[in-house]
Amino acid sequence: MKALMFLGCTVPVRNLNYELSARKVAARLGLELVDDPALACCGFPLKGTDQAAALTVAARALAQAAEHGLPLVSLCSACAAHLAEAEHRLKADPEAAAAVNERLAGVGLAYRPGVRVTHFMRFLLSEVGLEAIKARMVRDLSGFTFAPHYGCHYLKPSEALEGLDDPEDPQSLARLIQATGARALMHPSLKECCGGGVLGVDEELAGRMAGAKLKELGAAQVTALALVCPFCNVMYEGQQKKIAKSLETKLAVPVVYLTQVLGLGLGMSPEELGLGLNRVKPKELLQAMAG
């Protein structure tokens, strides 16, 4: 199965370990990810001030995917949701599509409905399948506990996304963790918002939002928090120290990407998966892998 890789803005600059591990996992599972350097920004950051612009930028990406004739696969939950929502809206509203196409004509592109947009994890599950992934596992991670974090846009807005998970009772990420033999911690805040959406306007508020979950996990004794979105990573890993300081508490919640967990299960080394780049290191895991 082939797909067009949509990296977005953050992943290729800040989350190389995520990108690296995802690409490795995809290759191991027989998925071909095609790159197009022209792909950039999904348009989400424009939405608050100018939806029409945000929609146009999203349509640009959709039009590019249409030219490749491939589904668009994103590592970022926000990009995936925004692009899927744009597709959902444009498909249902031919007038909006016509308006967008008028603008796209200026850059030599045209939007046509029917582009499949999906998150990388959802893509793994729908194309490879949980059973097949399980069958490819070579390293048993039992003894480790990962806290899956679904966040917002991996699940919502649900009507624009593939109906893989019940947004109220999501299971997919936990199943992927369990496929490696590890335990998935079903914690109360697994579908909470990380606060990344308000980081720009109210850093303190965003910190409180992320801090609540970090405190909860700090008490839960997990191997690591497992993420599938660079925005969540900004909050839970990037801001962890800052948050600990502002909350006047000590926090050391290791953070990994779920692709890294899968990669370990598939037999790859921590180096291959960029685990060295993780800032709050999952020491327990790294020690076990080294030993």
Partner: protein, 363 residues
């Protein structure tokens, strides 16, 4: 195997309170009818309802089932088949309907109450048909955020009633803290159910009052948007209920599993977020069109209301096909007493139809 009377003036599908009331009403008018019930026992949902009286009758109407059963059994004009399912229907020559009935499932070991199991496949000619197949309560799992089916301690109101009927709390202690959540599957555009189910407010509050009577210190919270009226002295009763339990005017955003029982997440009027644990959270499910509404509508060529119930909203009992009438809550949400009364009008209309077509088209 057809060794039963091949024709009946009026065939009633559904032996709940509405079907029984229609049969009794027809018998009072001196008309013979055949009542076909899918289950082994007559009575429908009302069979599972307990008496809600505390110091006085709560006017729930559940006791009227016993009256109807006794009367239906005693009236010679009424032929009753249980475990009988209508499988197809076609307009008979001239007027009326030819309806095929088939046994629904293997025969129950013992007949329960009046009626006999359908002896086999029966093709019945009826001059008129009354559909009284009842409503379908909403499956609360369809409102995922409220945790039904996955959060321990979240049950439906009908399940609570079943516990009461079985006397579950006579053996073990009743919950000390309980929440009712209203409008589950009602007044909900996101579920495509944009109607008020009418009966759930009165139903839940009567259940709550009954619980409170058995355990006066029980802390009951009633999450709702608007309390619908129920009967003539309702405002006075409501004033009393408001003193006995907490009325919270908010729809919870979530019911989540918690260490001390299911936790209801809601907002106070001034916007403050609350998270409160209860021993038991009861979801008051709304009433929807009968499960087989589509099949029945197709079978008889019926009209359906905007909300998918059988018949037409503007005509109280006409079903949109000649000689077919609807009775009770399959036409729209109704209480037990309302269903019983409504069946009376359906019976009157069916009787008038049969009288008006007498001699026309037959033979």
């Amino acid at each position: 195997m057809v060794n039963t009377p091949p024709s009946t003036p009026i065939l009633i599908l559904g032996g709940g309170v509405a079907g029984l009331a229609a049969a009794v009403d027809l018998a009072r008018r001196g008309l013979a009818c055949t009542l076909a019930e899918r289950e082994p026992a007559l009575g429908g949902r009302a069979r599972d309802f307990c008496c809600k009286a505390v110091s006085a009758c709560a006017r729930c109407g559940a006791c009227r089932l016993a009256d109807l059963l006794a009367e239906a059994a005693a009236r010679p004009q009424i032929t009753i088949y249980t475990q009988a399912l209508a499988t197809s229907a076609r307009p008979a020559e001239g007027h009326g309907w030819q309806v095929e009935l088939a046994p629904a499932g293997p025969a129950a070991p013992l007949p329960i109450g009046p009626g006999q199991p359908l002896p086999g496949r029966v093709s019945l000619a009826a001059q008129a048909v009354i559909l009284a197949v009842g409503p379908q309560p909403f499956d609360p799992a369809g409102k995922s955020s409220l945790g039904y089916g996955r959060v321990p301690g979240v049950i439906s109101a009908l399940e609570l009633e079943a516990r009461l009927v079985q006397g579950a709390w006579e053996q073990r202690p009743a919950p000390a803290k309980l929440a009712f959540i209203q409008c589950v599957g009602s007044r909900d555009q996101s579920l495509g159910r944009l109607w008020c189910s009418r009966v759930c407010c009165g139903y839940a509050l009567r259940l709550a009052r009954l619980l409170k009577a058995s355990r006066p210190d029980m802390d009951i919270a009633f999450f709702h948007m608007d309390v619908q009226d129920y009967g003539r002295a309702w405002e006075e009763e409501l004033a009393g209920l408001r003193r006995e339990m907490r009325f919270v005017r908010a729809m919870p955003g979530e019911v989540a599993a918690g260490a001390g029982g299911p936790e209801v997440v809601f907002a106070l009027a001034e916007g403050k977020q609350m998270r409160e644990a209860f021993d038991l959270v009861v979801l008051s499910q709304g009433l929807g069109p009968p499960a087989g509404a589509g099949a029945l509508a197709q079978m008889f060529g019926l009209a359906r209301t905007q909300d998918g119930f059988l018949g037409r909203a503007e005509e109280p009992v006409a079903a949109g096909a000649a000689g077919v009438f609807v009775a009770g809550a399959c036409q729209g949400p109704r209480s037990l007493t309302e269903s019983i009364d409504h069946a009376g009008l359906a019976a009157a209309a069916a009787a008038a139809y049969v009288a008006s077509t007498k001699g026309a088209g037959r033979g």
